[in-house]
Symmetry: C2
Subunit: 228 residues, 2 copies
DNA sequence: GCCCGAGAGGAAACGTCGTTCTCGCTCGAT
DNA sequence: ATCGAGCGAGAACGACGTTTCCTCTCGGGC
C-alpha cells in the first residue's frame, strides 16, 4: 500500500498527465455516447407521447449498438431514471431562477408554486423554453417511485428544499402562518405537483384546475389572511 | 321482422321461461367464474403487494383455464380495470355511509375527507373492514388512467359527485366560503386522493402527512374562518 | 512487420409474458 | 347413437428486455 503510494508519488508528472488525458478522452467519449442515447430517447418520447419506446428504437435512432447500450445503462429503467433526473435538474434550475427574481418571500413562493405547477401540468405551454414534453416522464415517475424511491427522492430533494426555504421565509415575515414549516411545504409540494393527475379526470374544461386556483387554495390553506 | 316478432309473441310461455331459466343459469355460472378470477387476482395482489402477477398465476390459483380467462376478459387490463372498479364500488358505499352518519354539512365533509384519505393512503389501517390492501390497485390506477381515462372517470364519478354535494352543502350553510363549488370539490378530491404519492417521498416520518393535517389544510383552503 | 488483447458492432439466442390457436374430451339435446 | 357447443390443456406465437457469442478492428508491445 505504502509502496504503491510512494510509486504513485514518484511517477513523473508527464505520465500522470498522459493517463489523465487518456482518461479524460475516454470519459468525454463515453459522455458523448451516453448523451446520444439520452437524446434519442427524448426524441422518441416526444414523438410517441409515451415512455413505451423499445430499446431497439433507441439503438436505431442513436446509431449505436445494443451492446453499447447495456455497457452504459444497466437496463431500460436506468435510462428512464436518467431522463427523469435530467429533467428534474432542468426544472430545479428554472425554478431557482424564478424564485430568486422575486423580492418579497410571498411573491417568491407564489412564482415558484405556479412555475412548479406548469412544469407538472401537461396542458400548460408555459414561458419556459421547453425543448420537449416532459409529460410522459412525469407520468412514468410514479412507477419509478415504486421501485427506486430513494433515487426519486434524491432527485426531488432540491425542489423540496427550496419549497421549505420559501415557506419558511414567508412564514417568518408573517405573510402566512403555519404551525409546521416542513409539513406545510410537503403538502404544498404534493398538492401542486400531483395536480396533473386530474388531467383525464376532470369531467369538463370548466372544472379543470388552473395554476392560479391551485395557488389560491394553497395560500389560504397555509394560513394567509383572507381579503374581504 | 314482423313475422319474427309475431312468432316470438306466439311462443308458448313455458319456452320463454325455459330459455330465461337457462340464461339465468348460464349467467350465474358465468358470474361465479368471473368472481373466481377476481378473488384469485385480489389474493395475488395481497401476497405480492403489486399488480405484477401473471395471468398464469391467476389461472392456477382460480383453478380455471387460460381459455376461460380470455373468454371473460379481453386481457389483463380488463381484469385490472374490473378490480379497480370493484374497489371503487366498495369505497363509494363506505364513504356514503360515513358521510350520512354526520349531521352538520361541515362534519360530513370532514368525515368523508378523512375516510377518503384513508382509502388512498396505504400506511393507514383504518376502521373500515378492509379485507385486503387496495394499495397496488390505486398505484396502478394511474397507468389505467392513461389508457382508459373514460372508464376511470366513470368509476370515480360517484365519489366526485358526493364531494361536490358535500362541498355545496357546507358552502350553503356558511361553514366554508368558496367561489366555485365544483372547482373547490375538484381540488379537494385531488389533494386528498393523490396524497399517497408522497409515500416514498417524505424524507422522514415527521414530515409525512396525516389525514388530519390534510383536512386542515383543505379546510382553510376552502375558506373556513380560522380560529384564533 | 507481426501479434495480441481490449473494445465495439452485429446478430442470434434466451426468458418472460400476454395472447391466440388447436386438439380432444365431455355432456346434453335430438 | 350422434352431433355440436363448451371447455380444459397445452403448444405456439409475438413482443421485448436482456445476455451471449462471434467477429472485426485498432493501437501498442515484441
Amino acid at each position: 500500500m505504502t509502496d504503491l503510494e510512494a510509486t504513485a508519488r514518484n511517477d513523473p508528472p508527464w505520465r500522470e498527465r498522459a493517463v489523465s488525458r487518456s482518461l479524460n478522452a475516454a470519459r468525454s467519449r463515453a459522455e458523448l455516447r451516453v448523451q446520444r442515447f439520452l437524446d434519442a430517447a427524448f426524441e422518441l418520447i416526444d414523438e410517441k407521447g409515451t415512455t413505451e419506446f423499445t430499446i431497439q428504437e433507441v439503438i436505431d435512432r442513436s446509431q449505436q449498438s445494443l451492446r453499447g447500450f447495456y455497457q452504459y445503462f444497466d437496463g431500460k429503467d436506468e435510462l428512464l431514471l436518467a431522463l427523469f433526473e435530467e429533467t428534474l435538474r432542468e426544472a430545479t434550475d428554472d425554478l431557482r431562477s424564478v424564485a430568486e427574481s422575486e423580492e418579497a418571500p410571498i411573491d417568491a413562493l407564489r412564482a415558484f408554486t405556479i412555475r412548479l405547477y406548469e412544469w407538472c401540468d401537461p396542458s400548460e405551454r408555459p414561458r419556459r423554453r421547453s425543448t420537449h414534453s416532459r409529460r410522459p416522464i412525469m407520468d412514468f415517475a410514479v412507477q419509478l417511485t415504486a421501485d427506486y424511491s430513494e433515487r426519486v427522492k434524491a432527485a426531488l430533494a432540491p425542489i423540496a428544499r427550496m419549497m421549505v426555504q420559501l415557506v419558511d421565509a414567508a412564514n417568518a415575515d408573517g405573510s402566512i402562518t403555519v404551525p409546521d414549516v416542513r409539513r406545510a411545504a410537503a403538502i404544498m409540494q404534493q398538492t401542486v405537483m400531483y395536480s396533473w393527475f386530474g388531467k383525464g379526470l376532470a369531467e369538463n374544461v370548466r372544472t379543470r384546475l388552473s395554476a392560479e386556483a391551485t395557488w389560491e387554495f394553497c395560500l389560504y390553506g397555509l394560513g394567509a389572511p383572507r381579503e374581504r
